[in-house]
């Protein structure tokens, strides 16, 4: 029989396998999200543009956003759109959760019996930062950190299963490593001399980006931190079963606990928008502290800058903030990363758009980082910088 998308091969040994009905349910979610994007988004775009015209907004769309939203909220098509978007997202988590729960004991056993390469360190007394504990990010019940009472890797498995659904396959398929490959391409372009001996990813979730980075720098000792114990145990087993030695630790990006001057490369991928205005400068300072002089910091974010966005894009971003539980989305797409990096002490600061890399990038390719935003899943916003060799050079 021919292979098709209908029964995808298990791309890595930890990925939960869908049975017939689960696959049909997941494909329904994808079809529903596609319908909303093609049929309902344009309706909200028209309503948004009408609201902007009625309000007579001319200068800053971003400062007018609360007024635009207040115009939309009483309108039934806007309410329908929010409800449909939310229903599709909730069905996605339900589908992924049911699939994992059916085989949870098998997945937990696969995690326990994973090859003994790499490490995972969890802290029973770890306190999840308030900005992540206050709501369940992405509407994922239990979010990154609320494990079942009997422990286990459920939250990691659910996240991994859903992540390939969420992006409709546009972030590197089931390996979900396109953002990691994009970080590598950025390092090759902006810091071609960097041969990291130690790498840290802040907010690594299931290690999907980190596996790609570890393979690009095979000589490096590669670490990842995140807030969920089950999430990290899953990430460790996922990497180990892929034959990649990664070191995971339950810790906050603001206070990681790693030594000073320790890493050559510290990065994050679509993480800063899940933090807070207070946390952002602290994370920059923590990056500076743990990097050795000459080390490089890279933060990848969504390809969207609030100051340059059209009104509909702001309303779409507003949905992420208010309903998809990413409360700092608007803050992260408005932040002045160059100023933040400068205040933290960094030099060689750059911010702009990096072309998405869909596979392991080649060294020596230039011109993929600049001011042009090619749009969702084609570009990513990246802010990067280097810790000066000495204070005198800062």
């Amino acid at each position: 029989m021919s292979t098709s998308q209908s029964q995808p091969q298990r791309i890595h040994p930890m990925m939960p396998v869908s049975d017939h009905d689960e696959l049909a349910e997941q494909q329904f979610v994808i079809a529903l999200k596609t319908f909303i994007a093609s049929e309902m988004d344009p309706v909200v775009r028209d309503l948004t543009n009408a609201a902007v015209a009625e309000l007579g907004v001319e200068d800053s769309l971003q400062s007018a956003l609360p007024d635009i939203r207040r115009r939309l909220e009483p309108q039934q098509p806007y309410q329908n759109w929010v409800s449909a978007m939310r229903a599709a997202q909730e069905l996605m988590w339900q589908a992924a959760g049911d699939c994992v729960d059916r085989q949870r004991s098998d997945i937990d056993e696969l995690a326990r019996s994973a090859p003994a390469i790499g490490t995972v360190t969890v802290d029973p007394n770890f306190i999840v930062p308030r900005y992540l504990a206050a709501t369940d990010t992405h509407m994922m019940p239990g979010s990154y950190h609320v494990d079942p009472p009997d422990g286990g890797v459920r939250q990691g498995a659910v996240f991994d299963k859903a992540a390939s659904l969420y992006s409709l396959g546009r972030q590197g398929g089931q390996m979900n490593d396109m953002r990691g490959q994009t970080v590598i391409a950025h390092v090759y372009e902006r810091f071609p001399d960097l041969e990291p001996a130690r790498v840290l990813e802040m907010g690594c979730t299931v290690g999907n980006s980190l596996c790609a980075v570890a393979r690009a720098f095979p000589q490096a000792e590669v670490h990842g931190l995140d807030v969920g114990a089950g999430l990290l145990k899953y990430a460790h087993a996922r990497a180990a079963r892929l034959g990649v030695a990664l070191h995971f630790k339950q810790a906050s990006a603001e206070d990681s606990g790693y030594p000073d001057n320790h890493f050559d490369l510290v990065f994050s991928s679509a993480v800063l928008h899940e933090t807070s205005a207070k946390a952002l400068p602290r994370i920059m300072a923590e990056c500076f502290r743990v990097l050795r002089p000459g080390g490089v910091m890279v933060h990848l974010e969504v390809p969207f800058r609030a100051a340059e966005a059209d009104a509909y894009s702001l309303i779409r971003a507003d949905f992420e903030t208010r309903y998809n539980n990413e409360p700092f989305w608007m803050g992260a797409v408005s932040a002045d990363y160059e100023a933040l990096a400068r205040e933290a002490g960094f030099a060689e600061i750059g911010a702009g758009f990096q072309d998405a890399a869909f596979g392991p990038p080649a060294r020596g390719i230039r011109g993929q980082f600049g001011n042009e935003n090619k749009g969702g899943y084609k570009s990513w916003y990246i802010a990067s910088a280097r810790k000066p060799q000495s204070k005198a050079m800062a």
């Binding site: 409800s83 589908a95 019940p141």
Partner: protein
């Protein structure tokens, strides 16, 4: 799950992994509409699953096979089958969601029609 240590603030595990924390009401919306829309979408997903299972039954029958649960889970749709199923899913969603688009048409007409 009896005997497990649960912090006093933790919600019962089933609910904590079923309903996300921080679910907001849409200002101005009757929350019962949101609830009902969520239920209709969930029901539609069940219908989509059922129809796909029925389709698998028929395709196994056409191959002279018995549709045991194992045979159904082992069935691999070829590209033509997947294309036909995708068209059916799309049609079902468009049909169920048509009233939502009708709301939009009505609202647009209401905005552009001059008042008497």
């Amino acid at each position: 799950m009896s005997g497990a240590t649960v912090s006093p603030n933790a919600a019962p595990p089933m609910q904590r992994h079923r309903v996300h924390k921080g679910r907001r009401v849409v200002p101005g919306q009757d929350p019962r509409v949101d609830t009902l829309l969520g239920m209709v979408m969930a029901l539609t997903s069940e219908l989509a699953v059922l129809r796909e299972r029925l389709d698998t039954h028929e395709r196994l029958a056409a191959q002279g096979k018995v549709a045991t649960p194992e045979a159904i889970d082992a069935f691999v749709a070829d590209a033509a089958t997947e294309q036909a199923r995708a068209a059916k899913r799309k049609r079902m969603i468009e049909k169920v969601c048509r009233p939502l688009l009708a709301d939009a048409v009505t609202a647009a007409a209401g905005v552009s029609t001059p008042k008497d």
